[in-house]
Structure formats: structure tokens, C-alpha cells
Amino acid sequence: MRYFRNKSVFTDRSGYLFILPFYALFVYFLLIPIGEVIYYSFTDFNLFSERKLVGFHNFNLLLEDQVFLKAMRNTGVYFLFTLIPTMALGLLAAVLLNTTLFRTSWARALVFMPHIVSMVSVSMVWMWLYDPTYGLFNRVLSSLGFDTMHWLIDPKTAMPSVIVMSIWKGIGYNMIIFLAGLQGIPKDYYEAAEVDGASKIKQFLHITVPLLAPATFFLFVTGVINSFNVFEQINVMTSGGPVNSTTTMVHQIYLRAFTEFKMGYASAQSVTLLCGVVLITILNYRFGGSRKKYGED
């Protein structure tokens, strides 16, 4: 393979070979099914019998679907209040546990544990914690003299309860990624800054944060996607209620497709969801910048 010193010549044709094993499987098992779903959204497919093309009918129905609109609002709320705290706390944990002053493997393991256990199991444990009579939270509240709360049965507290649980579960995952990123920052940079008299905070803001940008970008993009796709904890903990206060878009899609057999309509909902997520990701790209290189501005 010849190598030219000019910039804009696409010469690494071996690149195609490198991505081939992954990409072939990806196209067959992910991209094509997504295409099929897009196709279904224009039909009245009910999973089993013949489908008829119905044009934009499903999408029109969407606009009037109050429950789905509510689900969209709920998903937005979930996204706003889960992602940022989770990332912030994850970063905090990573910075704290990046120290060489103590052996931190145990602390890291503890913070990471929530991510290790499956969402279904975690949801069940938290359901138990939130139990109005037996749950730990209410017991603590009542022993301190406060009123007990109906965490998951009260429309006002149901979503916040789910959000708190999700933040708790996500901290460890964010910490791990940030840790890997922190490991990649050469110690010399900090030493040089120290010599220059920069405070720890200044070092954090001017060395750590910029150099963590690829990790931050990764976590933000995947975090957005995961927030918009939230499903399992809703399904297990609240089944979308009470009074639809916790139902999310994917939850609605699941109900429509699997309990009501309205695969065409559910596909339309999926397409809407997908468009939203794609849009946000594109925005991320524009503002997040993914190809920053370091050490050579």
C-alpha cells in the first residue's frame, strides 16, 4: 500500500477489509431489520397476516395519540434529569478513584456493581426498597418522624423514583469509561502544570476536561440513546403507570407491538423515535466534535 504525504487522498483501501467482519454482520442483522421496520411503518402489519400499505396513516394516528405524546414528554423528562447527573457523578467518582494514594479497586468495584447486575434484577431490588410498607426508604423516613411516601404508586413521585434508581445504576458505567480516559492522559501534563503553578482546579478544567472529550462525547451520545430507549425498568417497576406517568416511548412501542399486535403502528412510533435520536446525535456531532486531535493544534 503506497503512502502519500498529501492529506486528502483516500488511500487506505485496506480500511474496507478491516471493517468488513463487523460491518457485514451489522448490515445483515441490524441495518436490514431497521429497514424492514421502516417499511412496516407504512403498512398495517399485525405480525402474522398479510400486510397492506397504508401510507402515512400510522403517522397521522400518532399525532392524536395522547398516551404516546405523554410518553414522549416522560421520556424527555427522564433524559434531562438522568443523563447529566449520572455523567457528573460518574466523572466525580472517576476523578476520586483515579488516585494512587490508596488502593481503590474495592471502591471502584462497589461503585461499578450496579452496572454489573442486570437491569431487571436491579429494578426488582429497588421496587422492594420503594415498597410503601416494607421498603427501606419508608422505614427510614418514618423512624425519623417523616411521612411515608408512596413512591411508585403516586403519579407525582413515580418518575422521580425511577430516575433516582437509574442514576444510581449508571454512575459506575460512566466512571469506568472516564477512568479509562483518565488513564490515557500523560502524567507529564499535570507535572508541567504543577510546575507552572496551576491549582488543582485549574488543572482539572484545562487539562482533564479537554482531554476527556472523546470519552465525554462517547458517554453523552450513548447516554442520549439509552435515555431515549429506556424500557426495562419501566416495564418491571411501574408498567408505565400510575396514570401513564412513567410510560416511555419504547414502552409504548412494546405494548403496541406485543400485546396489541399493532406492529405497523409500533413501527411508525419506532421510526419517530429513531428520527429524534438521529437528529440529536447529528447535533452532538456538530457541537461535540469527534475528531479532535491532541498535541497538535
Binding site: 451489522f26 441490524l30 479509562a180 500523560p186
Partner: protein
Amino acid sequence: MKRLSYRKIALLAAIVLLSAIVAMPFVLMLLSSFKTMAEIQSPVFRILPNSFSFNNYIEAMNQGNWSRYFTNSLVITLITVSLGLITMSMAGYAFARLNFKGRDLLFFFSLIGLMIPEQVILVPVFIKIKQFPLFGGNDLWGTGGVGMLNSYLGLIIPQIAHPFGVFLFRQFFLQFPKALDEAAKIDGCSRLRALLRIYVPASLPVFATVALLKSIGSWNQYTWPLVITNDNSMRTVQLALSIFKTEYSVQWNYILPATTLIALPVLLLFFLLQKYYVRGIVTSGVKG
């Protein structure tokens, strides 16, 4: 001579506090896994169980064929991660360091795979697995048999098709300065050798991270194994947990021990991989 500086104490306190808050539900879970059902449901809440007998654990493991379930999960996870690390690091490297036409577009398309929740494509992918040509009795057109259903491959392949690892590898491979590629070229290194000799050794934390996260993802899968497997003998550990959920109740005294046991292998993996999170590896080889 150890100087207990103020900062050290503050740091330690912060770490302990953080760990305690996060670990609290698990500590509870662990302690409760030793309680009898009556204790768990008793109106009076006690943190500690009456006795630390492993009865619950033994009884839980005697229901169903847990050694088989663990084996299934282990094999699937191991193969998924091994194959996945190879294909994903290659793809991530290509997207990050190589120049070829349509590279960024192809990468963006692969991101779409990240965005779609699995419930949405469950049925189409299920059909693809069933109609995979030349497997499980299928002819060239994928009809006639059951394809990869109810087999390890059916559980492994869709996981390797997922772009999560590719994205992560790409982000981290982007961090290396361009000078590195040029230096490699000058030394007459092919792209592949550059990957293997330079990038991989310098990215062990990332490999460890992807291995860890992919293992967890694979280990914790529920919906997909649910619809793909039909046999009791093919169940994974997550599916097997449903043994303890009857029509009217959840057998907490069995689910808690089972969940604890299920979490152990991954926890072990985490500790094993800790040594790759050691600072300073990247610094070598970059300068001069």
C-alpha cells in the same frame, strides 16, 4: 514516615461516602439473601438475618439445572467477547486512523445500530436468525429448518453485529497523535502491524473496558435469549431467574441468592481486569 495530610483524609472520606451510598442496596440484598421468606416479609425490619446459613443458596441452586445455565452463559459470553474484541477493534481502528472513501458515512450508519432499541427489531432479527442459510437444516435460501434458533450461534452473532464496541474503540484510537501513524509508515509498518504492535499494547485499558462491558451486556441479556431459546437446556442464567417468579409471588428468598451468585463471575472479571487500568502505559512510545 506517613504524613496524614488533610487532603488525604478528605479524599478518603469522600470515597468511603460514595461507595457506601452506592453499595447500600447491594449490602441489603446480600444480607437479605440469608433470610428466610418469613423474615423478609416480616413487618419488623431487621437489617441482619437471624442466621447466616447458606440454605437459601443451596435450595435455590437445586431448582433447575444451574450448572448448565452457568455454562451456557459462560460459553456465550466468552465467545462473544473474544470474537467481538477482534472485529470491533479492527473496525474502530479503521474508522479512527485509516483514510478511505465513505469512512465517516459508514461510521455514522453504524451508529444507527446503537440507536434502535432491541424490542423494535426483535421480530425481524428473529426471522433472520431462523432463516439463516445453511444452518440448522436450512437450504441455501434459508427455508426448511430452524436456522440458528435455539443454538449458541443464534445468541452470539447478533451481539457481534452491535456497534457499541466499535464506537468506543474509535473514540480512544482517535486520541493518538497523527505522528504515530507517520512514524509507523516510515518504519515500513503495514496498517495491520501498526494496529497490533503499537495501538493494541497502548490501549489496554480500552480493551479491558470493552471486554468488561461486552461481557456484562452479554451476561445480562434477557429478551433475546428468551425468544431464541426453546429448550430448558439452553437457558441462560438471567432466564433461569424466572424460575423463582410464580404466578402470584416472587420468591425473594431464592431470587436474592441467585442474583448474588449470578453477579459473582462478572465481579471477578472486573477485579481481574483492574491491572489494565494502570496509568502511564500510554506515555511511552509517543515522545520522540
